[in-house]
């Protein structure tokens, strides 16, 4: 029963004076689609999944964007965020013109400048850094395709360092752990074959709340078929609610469960003996290693009853090899994340699921020749050997390590290009780090479509046009079917925004490096590349997506020997590489830190309505979910005297407080944990919708655990307590 306060009476009587206009509008709107409808192919860029779609316009106005039926990334349907993609184009808060930080009357301010001025400024600063410190001292942080153009420009200049925060703050442990085991990572889109799985195990992965399109589609397809779904999560997540087994594990003890499962599979001889014998190395060491970790031991750590551990292990074995122990995606949790991913990889190997239907399939992409351009010069130094020497197994940039290497007078990096990644909310305690880095750096260039916290630290802000307003690199990602997809402009760029290729080429021109961008218009590159594979830009502008015949098998060919890209050529259950660098060759369990009295494990995750913080200000998606809430178990709510709809500040043991956040009291979470969706708590008032709503989890992380193997930031070891407030968001 709804409870409306009686106070309304006086308010309603008072409202008598407010009378709607007597002559308010009249007729209904025409039915959708009765005007002149035009369509343009696109590739969505609301997240990194890059689904192909079709942008519809009616009478020259944006109408809708829908999934491309031939696209394996989206299988004909866009997700919530993709469907709301037009909001990113229409957002009135977009960056409109290049901005330069200048000294104004009231301190520093951003001055709108011409592109030419902006490029001049950047080029002069880059050259100054080159002269004073060396041309290898620039770093690129990028989350999105357009970063490649800046990379080309920076490599031409002499700087090779780059990082995607999606490695060290997200799936780096998984790629590293699987790479060490199988010689290759899981990739993106993930090579999970859930369409054919009979048993799926999700460990802390909340597919469905993270809306990676084909992942969600194949999982729900499997659920519809009645797959045996086992979900390990301290929270009754969406997939947990669809599971036959929800294992409400004590946070941080996943490794104990994984080891116990291995123990059961091996001791009950339920592992795939042929597969292990043919393709794996180090089984004996593994079998000996897991002996102490029986389900009774794991029970004490995880809180999951021994018989449930056995039951679930048997279910996995019964469905094998069509059993997928899902590798997860965001895996930077407790610092031992590469090792946990290794344990997951090993468990899959024991079940024989890698390379088998229902497990992990082999992906293939189109062999697309590179547009002819000069090779960049060799950088003056090997930046990885300097900056990331502690992490010899890592072949890409570790964003947090690179940020640390940008702080202080003797820092290695002197200039940054930041493309489409909001580092202050991406890195734990990112605001503090940015503050320090901004003091040290000689140049920070930020390229984005929206103003965000990161743009506040920039010397130069370059407004990029949205994906609906530009040509871009062809989407060519490894998938089940090799396909190319075209992103082309449906609209002229709004305001004075420009595509990334045009900016990078413009800066290169100012630096005298124009030869590295040997084209006037990126369309020339697209047409040339497409013609090399028997298509053309004209064809792709019509079809949007084109599939190419597959040349390699989707699965392992049974009975044939397989060469894995590991030192032994086998699946390495025991990792010699890890041993060489002084790390555990077999995964070990470390008990997690427990929260102090009155504090809770800080768990965070995704919402299907938003891509991190990037879409909060998108009007269509803001409308779906305008703030985040903190999930609290009723027992914890009682302790702190809070109810659903109240607002609290979250406070970590260092006394750091979050913005006010709304409480949701729910049974769907362990009493020792709280949960919140990541990406809220924006502090930049230029995002008028997103400003000041919800709270930012990243700012609360006080106990960041660095992964000794891949250098990433374990983000799930922090604790918070609740402080009731009368302040709403």
């Amino acid at each position: 029963m709804k409870r409306r306060e009686f106070l309304k009476i006086s308010g309603a009587l008072g409202a008598a004076g407010v009378m709607p206009g007597l002559l308010g509008g009249c007729t209904s709107q025409p039915l959708p689609g009765t005007g002149k409808v035009t369509t343009t192919p696109t590739v969505c860029n609301i997240c990194f999944w890059q689904c192909a779609g079709t942008m519809y316009q009616e009478d020259g106005k944006p109408w809708k964007v829908v999934g491309h039926p031939d696209d394996p990334h989206c299988r004909g349907r866009l997700c919530t965020r993709g469907t709301g993609g037009i909001g990113s184009y229409e957002d009135p808060d977009r960056l409109r013109q290049p901005l330069l930080r200048v000294e104004g009357a009231d301190g520093q301010e951003f001055k709108p400048v011409s592109w030419d001025e902006a490029f001049d400024f950047i080029a002069r600063r880059m050259e100054a850094i080159g002269e004073r410190h060396g041309r290898d001292r620039l770093a690129l942080f990028s989350h999105g395709g357009g970063g490649k153009f800046f990379r080309t420009m920076l490599q031409a200049f002499g700087s090779d360092a780059y990082a995607h925060p999606s490695f060290a703050q997200c799936r780096g442990p998984r790629e590293t752990g699987f790479g060490l085991t199988y010689g290759e990572g899981v990739g993106s889109p993930d090579r999970t074959d859930m369409s054919h799985s009979r048993c799926i195990v999700l460990i802390g992965s909340h597919i469905g709340e993270n809306l990676h399109n084909s992942q969600v589609q194949t999982l729900t397809e499997a659920i519809g078929r009645g797959v045996n779904l086992i979900t390990v999560d301290p929270r009754f997540s969406v997939p947990a609610s669809k599971s036959r087994h929800w294992l409400a594990i004590k946070p941080g003890t996943d490794m104990a469960l994984l080891l116990a499962w291995m123990n059961v599979l091996i001791n009950e001889e339920r592992y795939d003996k042929d597969y292990v014998a043919n393709h794996c190395s180090g089984f004996d060491e593994l079998a000996a290693h897991v002996q102490p970790f029986n389900p009774e031991w794991a029970y004490l750590e995880t809180g999951i009853e021994p018989q449930r551990i056995r039951e679930t292990a048997r279910a996995m074995a019964a469905a094998a090899p069509a059993t997928l122990i899902h590798p997860g995606r965001h895996t930077t949790w407790y610092g031992d994340d590469t090792q946990r991913s290794r344990a997951i990889a090993i468990l899959n190997a024991l079940l024989g699921s890698w390379g088998r239907p229902g497990g992990y399939y082999y992906q293939e992409k189109v062999k697309l020749p590179k547009f002819p351009a000069p090779k960049p010069p060799k950088p003056a130094s090997d930046w990885k050997a300097v900056v990331q020497k502690d992490f010899p197994l890592v072949s890409t940039g570790i964003s947090n390590v690179m940020v640390d290497a940008s702080i202080g007078d003797d820092a290695f990096f002197k200039g940054w290009f930041v493309y489409a990644t909001n580092l202050p909310m991406t890195l734990p305690a990112g605001h503090d780090k940015m503050e320090q880095a901004a003091q040290s750096l000689d140049l920070m260039v930020v390229v984005d479509t929206m103003p965000a916290e990161i743009t506040g630290y920039a010397d130069v802000v370059l407004p990029e046009c949205t994906y609906l307003e530009r040509y871009d690199q062809l989407r060519n990602k490894a998938e089940r079917t090799p396909t190319l997809a075209l992103r082309m402009p449906a609209f002229e760029p709004r305001y004075d925004s420009k595509p990334a290729w045009w900016m990078a080429k413009g800066i290169a021109g100012k630096l005298g490096l124009g030869e590295y961008f040997p084209y006037q218009d990126y369309k020339e590159v697209l047409d040339w590349q497409l013609k090399q594979v028997g298509s053309s830009l004209a064809e792709m502008e019509k079809v949007g997506v084109k599939a190419f015949p597959r040349k390699t098998p989707v699965y392992m060919e049974e009975g044939k020997p397989v060469q894995f890209n590991t030192p032994s050529g086998k699946i390495e259950l025991y990792s010699g590489l890890l041993e060489e660098v002084g790390q555990d060759p077999l995964p070990k369990y470390t008990p997690p830190d427990r929260p102090p009295e009155g504090y809770y494990h800080l768990n965070y995750g995704r919402s299907p309505a938003h891509t991190f913080g990037r879409t909060i200000n998108n009007p269509q998606l803001f409308e779906l979910m305008p703030e985040n809430a903190v999930w609290v178990h009723p027992a914890a709510a009682a302790v702190h005297g809070v109810a659903s709809g109240d607002y609290v500040h979250l406070e970590n043991p260092d006394g750091k407080r979050s913005q006010a956040i709304r409480v949701r009291v729910t049974q769907r979470i362990r009493p020792d944990s709280i949960f919140m969706v990541h990406g809220f708590g924006h502090t930049d008032p230029r995002q008028r919708l997103a400003y000041g709503v919800g709270a930012d989890d990243a700012a609360l992380m006080h106990n960041v655990k660095i992964d000794p193997v891949m250098g990433g930031t374990g983000l799930r070891a922090s604790f918070v307590t609740l402080k009731k407030t009368s302040e709403a968001s």
Partner: protein
């Protein structure tokens, strides 16, 4: 009389809200108004829980109290079907239909003031297409079709699967079903 029904599988629905955004873009629903919405219903106590997601909208009732309440005939059945529409040019904005709907599925169009609601995308149905929400759902948990045709996907699902409708006790004879 043709009866169109929507059948939504709560087993595969993840509550992502794509249906809501798809409806808004397809039908150009103004900001701040919604013709459909998603509900999460959780029962039980930790750790023995059940959570159900439901994409909800007008039920296009066979016995639509809103149509009966309308004083001008603006709320009406489309052609010879159960699809309930509002003819804006007949609507006075008296809101009797809003009060008459037990599902709170109607809204006041902004800025014009006539009453608006889910149309089952009859403009698409006319072209043989599924409503926009059904056509966009990434989990394929939504289905649409004619109940009168025993071979339609909706008839088949209702025959084969356990299901419910919302508030059948109102006597409105709703035509949006939820598979359990």
């Amino acid at each position: 009389m043709t009866t169109y029904a929507m059948v939504i599988d709560t087993i595969t629905c993840i509550g992502c809200g794509d249906c809501v955004v798809a409806c808004k873009t397809e039908n150009k629903v103004p900001e701040g108004l919604n013709r459909d919405w998603v509900v999460e219903a959780t029962s039980g106590e930790y750790p023995n829980l059940h959570t159900e997601f439901r994409s909800e909208r007008c039920n296009h009732c066979s016995h639509a109290t809103c149509v009966y309440a309308c004083p001008t005939g603006a709320s009406h059945y489309w052609k010879d079907t159960n699809i309930v529409l509002v003819a804006a040019e007949k609507c006075t904005g008296c809101k009797a239909c809003i009060a008459a709907c037990p599902y709170d599925a109607r809204l006041i169009m902004r800025p014009e003031g006539y009453i608006d609601k889910c149309t089952f995308c009859h403009h698409r149905v006319d072209d043989g297409l599924d409503p926009a929400c059904v056509a966009s759902c990434p989990t394929h948990c939504m289905h649409f079709g004619m109940l009168d045709n025993p071979d339609s996907i909706v008839s088949r699902l209702l025959r084969e699967r356990r299901h419910k409708a919302l508030l059948p006790e109102t006597g409105n004879e709703p035509n949006v079903y939820y598979l359990l």
